[in-house]
């Protein structure tokens, strides 16, 4: 604490001042704020319970607008200047909340009430009103102004928790030369020892800590990570830490001026993990144990010693273990009136009782609170004397028996024992069981590579935690979700006896604090209600994260442009400079069309397509997948994939083919070109390139390792430029090349290796448009020169670039298949007219056997056919069809559609049930519930049925 530096902040619109080093919680307490929020269900006033992440009451909203953050835990939020903090419930205010009315009808709103009502007329009618009552705080109003980062890390030893135990473990590990990471949730190392006054190795705690830190800082292989919380341990001990980077720098607001991330998500791979996470103090269960002013004793001590704030001026202490006695001493020394210590143990061990006696503080042995009074501030506590087995009260406050006691006080510090913070051990696969002597959850078996140290490995003997008397409906077990003993009782009565049912029915432990101060108490209560020992019960599954984690931190920088990689064409800059309208096609960003000023997309597409039919067009097909297949068995290898026979392929010739999955479904299409018997080039669809490579490799490595084949993807090595149109040959001939382009020397489906403009070139005569086409491949960086040369060579002839839209239109006119558009994950070769080819190939190929299965030989499968519109209107892709005689259901759908460029006819391709046998029939076209057109089933293509244009 630095009391010389005052820090102004706001709480619920009022201005307050704290000091540097304060948490929001300590600053509020120091300013006398007792009610920090209203409870979730019953809107009861609530004050701070704890001084740590386990806090169930002090969940506040920090900031506003786009940077608004809901449910910030007041004890762990560092106070920074001008912090704007709000309570999350309470209307019109936390101090006066009309919602409190619900508290007076609480028994109506017990566990599962919503299952029993709101049935008529329907839940949806009540839902909005109910939803408005739920939820803690509001979502931000806009995109996060902050940024986040992910960082990977490796180490030999990861020590989680930088208290005395963690520091020692880190030092021990570092001495062996190991790479050590020490993560501490707080911004300061030292844990409890920072303030609890205990020494380490006979040295004052703080001296020891500084020495330990100096020592660690000097070791090169040690990484200290303050402000970093371990939130989950996953498979193979991979651990996630969340570092609060911005908060550590003490800056608030104007985050855009910072470059630093707000939080950093560390993914740590450690050989060994030490959990030095300390323990979490538990409350006591008694009537009205939720009043503001009732606080965990350890928290009260921390606020006092660390932040100089006393939890009250007249303080009563109630405990079931030794730890709270230190608080009594500290309070007394600070001049606070300590009204006594109620200790549920009987007898109280010698050491604490003599310590109390020496301070003149009265100890009430075998005594536990049985009730409290005070609305927004605790006023009175009733104490009762437990009977021998703690199953009843000998006499209680208000009564007359010995031990009955009514204590007027303004604060009650409670300690219900400690349970080690071993959630992470549970994440790592460890099991925890209830230990009756300490009332804690302790490890049952070791987890390889994960150990606990210090407070996380201790068990502190403790007495009874629960008052046996009092109204169950007023005994809170889960403060954040307002779950009481009565809820658990009702759930048990209704047979929700499994702990997991109990959790889901009452929502106990499901709140934002994930039961950090209610899990063990739930076991106690249920055991008592069922008359069994808590050690017979299993706690519910603990899952990551240990504390809630900002979604932004998890995503890190993997958002927006970095959400998924994007690939650019080698000639991207040229396209961008020439009016390209870009879209994403798989990973690739490609020109859809090249818009001239004032032109629409449709207009451009028709112009480009027309140019190809009339003169020539230039298409950047660089993403076309290209694989080189080398080795003595290359032909044999490829022949096992294609439905076409490759064994007859001649040198320098290409063949189009389909590749199937083993199920017979079409997987990809493309050409295979034989350059030499041990060197082939395979092309794939642009989107399929990676998958085809992976597919070929899988078979090569796993199934046919004896075949001598090597596969090398070369897609990006080559720029692929398709020059298509009647003038293609003329234009290409104008460029300097050593390749004979004449029709006789270079026929359709031929390929030639040579030079173009001096660059190495591979030219293929394949056509996706139906026009004479040269598919020119030159090294990627030569692409633009060739592209520009072709454009200028053809300028006088009207050669122009075309985008994907025009290309797909042209191929549709020809009835060529577009995998993924006309086919889906069920399409087999016969469905698209390739059945014969597949059947005729004698040798086996992948997928062949499946084509003989009964399902694949049915004649009423969906088959790809052409559609001509008899009404004259354009088809809409995705419309469905009904064939004559069919009154309901669908008989198929339109997969592709366009209006032909030369003849202006609306045409389409469709998958139609038994379609090939229906050629000539009329079908009805339906779109969005209406019959929109009639169409005739025809055989494509729609232009140049003789296929003459292909040859120029």
């Amino acid at each position: 604490m630095d009391r010389t530096r005052a820090i102004p902040f706001q709480f619920n619109g009022k201005r307050f001042e704290g000091f540097a080093g304060d948490s929001v919680a300590s600053a509020l307490l120091a300013n006398g704020v007792r009610v920090v929020g209203r409870s979730f269900k019953f809107h009861r006033p609530r004050g701070l319970l704890s001084a740590g992440v386990e806090e169930p009451n002090g969940l506040l909203t920090v900031g506003d607008g786009a940077a608004r953050t809901a449910s910030v835990r007041a004890p762990v939020q560092m106070l920074v200047p001008e912090l704007d903090v709000h309570s999350q419930a309470g209307w019109p205010s936390v101090d006066f909340d009309v919602g409190r009315a619900l508290d007076f009808t609480a028994s109506l709103w017990q566990a599962g009430f919503y299952n029993k009502t709101f049935i008529w007329p329907s839940w949806h009618a009540y839902e909005p009103a109910v939803r408005r009552m739920a939820g803690l705080g509001r979502a931000p109003d806009g995109p996060d102004p902050d940024r986040y980062e992910v960082r990977n890390m490796h180490c030999d030893v990861l020590v989680i928790g930088g208290g005395a135990a963690g520091l020692r473990e880190a030092i021990d590990a570092a001495r062996t030369g190991a790479r050590v990471v020490l993560a501490e949730r707080e911004f300061q190392f030292g844990g409890e020892t920072l303030w609890n006054g205990s020494g380490v190795d006979g040295e004052p705690g703080n001296d020891w800590i500084s020495r330990a830190l100096t020592g660690l800082a000097a070791m090169t292989e040690v990484r200290l990570l303050p402000g970093s919380t371990a939130v989950g341990i996953y498979d193979d001990r991979v651990t996630v830490l969340v570092e609060r980077v911005a908060e550590a720098s003490g800056v608030s607001g104007a985050p855009h001026r910072r470059r630093a991330p707000r939080e950093r998500y560390w993914i740590v791979r450690a050989e060994r993990i030490v959990l030095a996470t300390g323990a979490i103090e538990q409350p006591l269960i008694f009537e009205n144990n939720d009043r503001p002013g009732i606080m965990l004793a350890g928290a009260a001590r921390q606020y006092l010693r660390r932040f100089g704030v006393a939890v009250g001026s007249r303080v009563l202490i109630a405990t079931n273990n030794d730890s709270a006695y230190a608080l009594a001493k500290d309070l007394k020394e600070a001049g606070v009136l300590v009204l006594g210590i109620a200790d549920s143990r009987h007898p109280v061990p010698i050491e604490p009782s003599t310590a109390a006696a020496s301070l003149g503080i009265e100890v009430f042995p075998g005594t536990i609170p049985t009730g409290t009074a005070g609305f927004s501030r605790l006023k009175t506590v009733w104490l009762g004397r437990l009977n021998a087995d703690a199953s009843g009260i000998v006499s209680s406050g208000g009564g007359t028996g010995a031990g009955a006691r009514v204590v007027a006080c303004d604060a009650l510090a409670v300690s219900g024992g400690f349970t080690p913070a071993l959630q992470l051990y549970a994440h790592a696969g460890g099991a925890l069981a209830y230990d009756p002597s300490s009332g804690a959850l302790l490890p049952v078996h070791p987890v390889p590579g994960v150990t606990a140290a210090g407070g996380a490995a201790q068990s502190i003997p403790a007495g009874p935690r629960m008052s046996p008397s009092g109204r169950p409906g007023r005994q809170w077990v889960d403060l954040l979700h307002d779950v009481t003993v009565a809820d658990l009782e009702l759930a048990l009565r209704e047979n929700f006896t499994s702990m997991e049912h109990l959790k889901r029915y009452t929502t106990v432990g499901m709140a934002a604090d994930q039961g950090k101060t209610s899990t063990v108490a739930t076991l106690d209560v249920v055991a008592r209600l069922r008359g069994i020992s808590p050690s017979q019960l299993k706690h519910t599954t603990m899952r990551p994260p240990f504390v809630p984690v900002t979604l932004g931190a998890i995503a890190g920088r993997d958002l927006g442009e970095r959400f998924a990689p994007r690939r650019e064409l080698p000639m991207n800059a040229w396209h961008a400079a020439h009016g390209a309208l870009f879209h994403d096609y798989g990973e690739w960003r490609r020109p859809t069309a090249y818009l001239k000023p004032g032109e629409t997309r449709e207009g451009a597409v028709r112009r480009e397509a027309m140019a190809v039919r009339a003169e020539a067009g230039l298409f950047d097909g660089s993403p076309l997948g290209k694989l080189e297949i080398h080795g003595p068995d290359a032909v044999e290898f490829l022949d096992r994939f294609y439905i076409n026979d490759l064994s007859t392929l001649k040198p320098m010739r290409a063949r189009y083919g389909l590749m199937l999955r083993e199920s017979g479904v079409i997987f990809d299409d493309g050409t295979v070109t034989l350059l030499a018997p041990d060197h082939l080039i395979v092309t794939t669809t642009s989107g399929g390139a990676k998958n085809v490579f992976r597919w070929l490799e899988e078979w090569r490595q796993c199934e046919w390792p004896d075949l001598r084949v090597a596969i090398i993807p070369v897609t990006e090595q080559w720029a692929t430029i398709a020059l298509a149109g009647p003038k293609a040959r003329t234009v290409l001939s104008r460029l300097d090349t050593d390749i004979d382009l004449s029709a006789a020397a270079f026929p359709h489906l031929g390929s030639r290796m040579g030079h173009l403009l001096g660059f190495p070139a591979r030219i293929f005569r394949v056509s996706f448009t139906g026009e004479l086409t040269y598919e020119i491949n030159v090294p990627a960086r030569a692409g633009q020169a060739v592209w520009e040369a072709l454009l200028s060579a053809g300028a006088g002839d009207g050669v122009q670039p075309l985008g994907l839209d025009a290309l797909l239109l042209l191929r549709l006119e020809k009835g060529f298949l577009h995998i993924g558009t006309d086919t889906d994950g069920t399409t087999i070769p016969d469905d698209v007219g390739w059945g014969k080819a597949a059947a005729n190939k004698r040798r086996d190929f992948i997928g062949k056997r499946s084509l003989l299965l009964p399902e694949n030989t049915r004649t009423d499968r969906h088959q790809l056919v052409g559609l001509a519109n008899t009404d004259g209107a354009a088809f809409v892709i995705g419309s469905h069809l009904r064939v004559p005689g069919s009154a309901h259901g669908s008989d198929g759908w339109i997969t592709s559609a366009c209006t032909t460029v030369l003849t202006n006819q609306p045409v389409g391709l469709a998958m139609v049930r038994g379609g090939r046998a229906r050629v000539g029939q009329e079908v009805e076209v339906y779109d969005l519930g209406a019959r929109v057109a009639r169409a005739r089933i025809v055989n494509p293509p729609f232009v140049d049925p003789a296929g003459e244009r292909m040859n120029g």
Partner: protein
């Protein structure tokens, strides 16, 4: 996140790998019955406990390899090369 020991590259993170399903499945001749063929197509070992499976180190060496992994604990007991026989292992869990 699994940490998978590639026999060629050492231990790497799960996202570097592609899972390939059970290994040691023999592809039948195409002359087999529909019954045998569909078993090959669809039926898959799906054991609780030790699972013999194959992985591709897609973002690394590009090699497929076999692994024996416990499907309850995710422990990888052994990895071995494609084509090697199943190592005889017993479930330690």
């Amino acid at each position: 996140m699994l940490r998978i020991p590639c026999p060629h590259c050492g231990v790497r993170d799960e996202p570097e790998f592609v899972f390939g399903g059970p290994s040691h499945i023999a592809r039948p001749e195409s002359s087999v019955s529909d019954e045998v063929w569909t078993d090959y197509l669809f039926m898959r070992e799906n054991r609780v406990g030790l699972h013999y499976e194959r992985w591709l180190h897609a973002y690394g060496c590009g090699r497929w390899f076999n692994a024996v992994r416990n499907t309850l604990t995710h422990e990888i007991l052994e990895t071995y090369l494609m084509g090697d026989p199943r190592p005889p292992l017993t479930d330690r869990s």
